[in-house]
Symmetry: C2
Subunit: 368 residues, 2 copies
């Protein structure tokens, strides 16, 4: 990490020849030539959605060199557009523009845009450059690191995709000013997750900083985003293609995916479902004797302070959870494995949950 312009920070994600920087700060988008250093050539396509375009597309263009050949593609908003058909539209636009292997794709938007544009870049002429400009807290702390790209399929989320690293990530914290509060809270769930799985000090800092974060205080935002990205980068560097430790990033996700799938994707935000799922994982850890009640309360309190749900949908039965959880793609050869907490700041992949324990937990968990 090094100091760049006052109030902004740069974090380097170390992946050998695929290493790249993450720049974090207020007002980065719109600075002249802010995106210039990472362009592969003059051909640039900015892909965004109908919500983000009127807010930030002009600033994005202002950060590109005057001599760039810039095309824009504005897709509909929302998880429902995260399909192979949308990615095909990007490929069509690239080919219609006559863009070659030295073009650069810029993903301006949240996680859906980032995942789709990253996948489009991964497979256009077998791989071209792309830059991420994430405009939601969730995408800033999650999609910025890890190289996961892809789309949903009727039969499952993120089933089609590739690992593909960006050339750079530019995070303008001012874009959070236009983010709906509910989406901001959903992003905080992932921030809290990094503390829970790997860094008790960061978790402690977050407990005190939650009010500043929700007030969008720039220095608090920069620290929360930087620490989150750094923690994720550490884990990804240890395990780039998700064979081992990277599974810990799925804390709360097996429960969360069950909620999202049962409700129909989009009704609960991903971060909301993960928030409730992390509380379920904490309570299950307590039932295994790993956490005490005070620790579970700390998890509940920080989720509450982030305005995240502490209960699951009233109409979800134990069976609804179990059926969905067995379908989760993290369960190699259909064995149920769960990420649990040995202590706050120390997650592990556990096979110790018995079906009875799991059923009792789900049965007793609050409904709303």
């Amino acid at each position: 990490m090094s100091e760049t312009p006052i109030g902004s920070r740069t974090l380097e994600v170390s992946l050998g020849e695929r290493s790249y920087p993450i720049h974090i700060g207020p007002g980065l988008l719109g600075e002249p030539d802010a995106l210039a250093p990472w362009l592969a050539g003059r051909q640039v396509m900015v892909v965004t959605n109908e919500v983000v375009a009127p807010l930030y597309l002009a600033r994005c263009r202002a950060s590109l060199p005057a001599d760039a050949e810039v095309r824009e593609l504005v897709l509909p908003d929302g998880e429902a557009t995260k399909t192979l058909e949308s990615v095909s539209r990007i490929w069509d636009a690239l080919l219609e523009a006559g863009f070659n292997r030295r073009c650069t794709l810029i993903a301006l938007g949240g996680g859906v845009i980032g995942d789709m544009v990253g996948f489009a870049a991964a497979c256009y002429q077998r791989g071209v450059a792309f830059i991420q400009v994430p405009t939601t807290l969730l995408s800033q702390v999650d999609s910025s690191v890890g190289g996961k790209t892809g789309v949903n399929h009727a039969l499952g989320k993120n089933m089609i995709g590739a690992f593909w690293q960006p050339r750079a990530v530019l995070i303008d914290t001012e874009t959070l000013e236009t983010l709906p509060a509910r989406e901001f809270s959903a992003g905080l769930a992932e921030v809290i997750k990094y503390g829970l799985i790997r860094d008790a000090d960061f978790l402690g800092w977050l407990e005190g900083a939650m009010e500043d974060l929700r007030a969008l205080e720039p220095m608090a935002l920069i620290r929360a985003i930087e620490c989150s990205c750094a923690l994720k980068a550490e884990i990804v560097a240890e395990d780039e293609t998700e064979q081992g430790v990277r599974a810990l990033l799925n804390l709360g996700h097996t429960f969360g995916h069950a909620i999202e799938a049962h409700q129909g994707y989009g009704k609960w935000l991903h971060g909301e479902a993960v928030g409730a799922g992390m509380l379920m994982a904490a309570e299950l850890s307590a039932r295994l004797g790993w956490l005490d009640e005070a620790e579970v309360s700390r998890v509940r309190d920080i989720l509450l302070a982030a305005a995240l749900p502490l209960s699951v949908p009233a109409d979800m039965s134990v069976e609804d959870f179990l059926v969905r959880m067995r379908l989760d793609k993290k369960n190699i050869d259909s064995r149920l494995r769960l990420i649990l907490l040995r202590s706050l700041g120390d997650a592990c992949l556990s096979h110790e949950t018995t079906p009875e324990l799991l059923e009792a937990l789900i049965e007793a968990f609050p409904r709303a």
Copy 2:
């Protein structure tokens, strides 16, 4: 390279942790458990086409372990099926079968099947295992090495794809017995290409072995395939993602693509167009003073011995060639670069061709 069962050979393609073996020999397909060592788990999907299925699908199944959960998908034959829609059918089938990240795809067929199945494997759940069982000479000597996968787009060939390495390649030379003679000749064009670009000794051997090859003499086939794969592997190991020396593999391809595109893909076989393109490259090299007339004659003679065309379509004007050649995706930022021959066995990437020289060559080249 090491001796395995009598009459078969194994070549190792060295790519660090993505290294894999190529097994070459008569009758390999059908040997019990021949495919077993490279399966990632019990879930296996064999993808083939309507022409290959009745000939070799049963043998392929016989080479899989009895306890494997095997699914089969039979696609239509031909380059016209090399589309994103076909790859989507593979993804649909994998998801409908409930296959997880430890499944294995087997590509049983020619280059079209190999390219599509490799791409499907590259992007299913962000990458699963695949094994190539190429059944045409072209796919045996070309797709076996290099990790190029992908599909065509209405606006260009191979525009959507990924680099993805197989776990293993199994080449049963007996599958060539059912290959139409014209397709066999097209495969020979690529074999000749390896000699021309990099190995004068191999070229010399080929000149003497052409009759044995066309008679499908097993030892000659094994040597031709093994040397071709080894030469390609050397080049790919030096340049896995096609930034430099790998471009030499495109000898004859810029001319060839122009012919294929003008005629409509499928009318000329790829290898036939490349064959004529290599003769054009040789003649252009002679016009630059790099080859003498005797050397150009050797190129013409070996192509003739392989039953490849020595002329280009009668209705193709100089302009038809030039328009198509400028669109070729190997031409970064629209500069025309050509692979030419400094001598037989030594190709180079050249910028020395003037438009006048190129036009004169195309003008004078035989039409049929």
